[in-house]
Symmetry: C2
Subunit: 380 residues, 2 copies
């Protein structure tokens, strides 16, 4: 049965299932409430003011962003409590100050004395105490100081005594994306919690303040069972979920709220291929499931209504061509999908796929209601 609401959309384009998105949002909001921590959603996945309205707490719209461009757009739209969750570049401090002058409390992140000194100096010169959190490393994933690193205290002291605001500590257990299953992810959640709690204790023992103790990644946020000592958690991709997240069992494939609508534009019967107009430009080059237990190629294939077609996947992608095939080793047969058939592709990585598009076409939860368009933005 064809969905007439989708038939006039140009392809490829991005679809959001509002009901699934709300279910995902509620799930983590409830879990955060059970754990007694506030939630500071990461808006880097959706990059949309419309989507942000769903995910933020209207009474306390606290957000995380990955670029200053996001902070600037969201601040203009009334979101005034933002953590910029990437180590602050020394070339970005003027824009940070401009956001403060515009009434946005933007908190920066850092893990070195040189950054702390630059933030303190900029704070003094501008007469604005820039809030800064110290990044803590719990798993060797990327950035941050270990809780035992003596630099932690000196960074805290430079901020606190130098004119900036020592706002707390923040950790992101990025290695949890490679942990399969709730139990493995819970261990990462515990390590993440222990790292920030220890860091906060070290700062406080040195006579320094540490009001906010922040943890988060989508896997650890969902798996955490005890966040004693933590004040807030962050997560981003949970709003949409994706095949990487279902591959490590944070969600089911049925929870994935984001898909790419595509049209069949060719057949190569000898090869067993169907060609569609969702190539890597529409799906992104993200192959995040390549090293998981089940490689999902460039995405799983659903019919127009979002019902999974067994063992069909986007096996290859060129810029504007997706090559759909039956999963290697499967005895499923390619169904008859004539030219012009519309399909939906579930993405490996929602952040990367959404970034390839300029807008979302949202299928409302009310059956039969008209589609809604949400604009999204990019850039830095």
């Amino acid at each position: 049965m064809s969905d007439s609401r989708l038939s006039t959309l140009p392809t490829p384009c991005l679809l959001v299932d509002e009901a699934k998105m709300e279910r995902n949002i509620d799930r983590l909001a409830n879990h955060a409430a059970e754990l007694g921590v506030s939630l500071r959603p990461h808006l880097k996945t959706t990059k949309s003011v419309d989507a942000a309205r769903y995910v933020l707490n209207p009474r306390n719209p606290a957000a995380t962003v990955s670029t200053l461009a996001e902070a600037e757009v969201f601040a203009r739209n009334g979101i005034k409590d933002i953590v910029y969750g990437v180590g602050i570049g020394l070339n970005k401090l003027e824009r940070v100050l401009d956001l403060h002058r515009a009434g946005c409390r933007l908190t920066v992140l850092l893990d070195s004395e040189a950054q702390a000194e630059a933030v303190a100096k900029a704070s003094r010169e501008a007469g604005i105490a820039i809030p800064a959190m110290i990044e803590i490393d719990s798993d060797g994933h990327r950035s941050g100081l270990t809780p035992q690193d003596p630099i932690l205290i000196s960074v805290g002291r430079i901020l606190h005594e130098g004119g900036a605001e020592l706002a707390g500590v923040l950790c992101h257990a990025g290695e949890s994306y490679f942990a399969v299953g709730r139990e493995a992810q819970r261990k990462f959640a515990e390590t993440e919690r222990d790292a920030v709690v220890d860091a906060a204790a070290a700062l406080r023992q040195a006579g320094l303040p540490c009001p906010t103790v922040s943890v988060g990644s989508t896997p650890t946020a969902h798996a955490a069972a005890d966040l004693t000592g933590v004040s807030e958690m962050r997560a981003g991709v949970y709003v949409f979920f994706d095949l990487v997240m279902s591959g490590i069992e944070v969600c089911s494939v049925d929870d994935i709220a984001l898909s790419v609508l595509t049209t069949v534009i060719g057949h190569q019967e000898k090869q067993g291929w169907l060609i569609c107009d969702a190539g890597w430009m529409a799906m992104s080059r993200d192959r995040g499931t390549a090293n998981q237990q089940v490689d999902q190629g460039y995405g799983l294939v659903c019919d127009e209504n979002g019902v999974l077609i067994p063992d069909l996947m986007v096996a290859q992608a060129n810029q504007e061509h997706g090559v759909i095939a039956v999963r290697s080793g499967s005895d499923a047969t390619m169904p008859e999908l004539p030219l012009g058939t519309r399909l939906r592709i579930l993405p490996n990585h929602a952040c990367a796929t959404a970034a390839q598009h300029q807008r979302y076409h949202v299928i409302p939860k009310e059956p039969g209601a008209e589609l809604v368009t949400w604009e999204r933005f990019g850039g830095w």
Copy 2:
């Protein structure tokens, strides 16, 4: 020595070296002239009206595009002879006709009777003979009919007798991207040429016209030594080149005209890592060199002036973090690159990296001249 022109650019951002770009453009233009074929550049790499002005022949601005959005933008900017080089979707014919009504000769591509019938029907109903080329397959890469396929003649006949315009045959030797070195690529160029020349002969023998005989991919376009029977060639990524192209020896690393300007935002000395603000959002997730002889990670690292730093690469990428490290197995040492240092990253795949950005910052060939901005666009 720091380049003051770059010091005010926000990072990450996209840089174009105008001198290298012109050198690349001239190289292929000269080669096409030597071979006696016209050149129909593919504008999918640059997606910029400003860049198109460099690459198109001002007396005969014939272009190839990968989306109807490209065709629409370029048509509005005076480019009226465009081949849409992706198999036409049955849902896209109304936009094709609108382009014709706006004075653009847009040629579509197809490889099936069903597409030919739809194009012929749309032509008759609109009173506009839509030009269509038949896609020929020379290497099993993706789409197209083999020259021997009897469907070729029936597709040609449906177009020619049904009210459309049979404009010719077109082949893209996509497998040539995996052929290393001039000799291997020349074999692909010969196979590509033979396929279209045979297909054109088959059509003509059946009493059908075949005015245009088109070949092209960046590797085969550069390697071709004899294009007898061919009328035009197409190529796209050659304007910028990239690490995938240098990896198969179509160009040298020094020819790469596109780079991402980034700032050092952190150090993890124990890991031997330097963190920069060019993550996969700035570089794309394209790992096209992963299966080449030399894996270049997410890109090679140059200083701010574009001089390669030996054995330094973006070894990992998160959304807004690039992790720079010395190439595994190298005995090079990480140079001292303090916080705030600006670097340039050469990309794996120029089409994919450029697509992550909204504009180019062009370094003019005149020494010391001010930077120029070229806007680019995306979407479908």
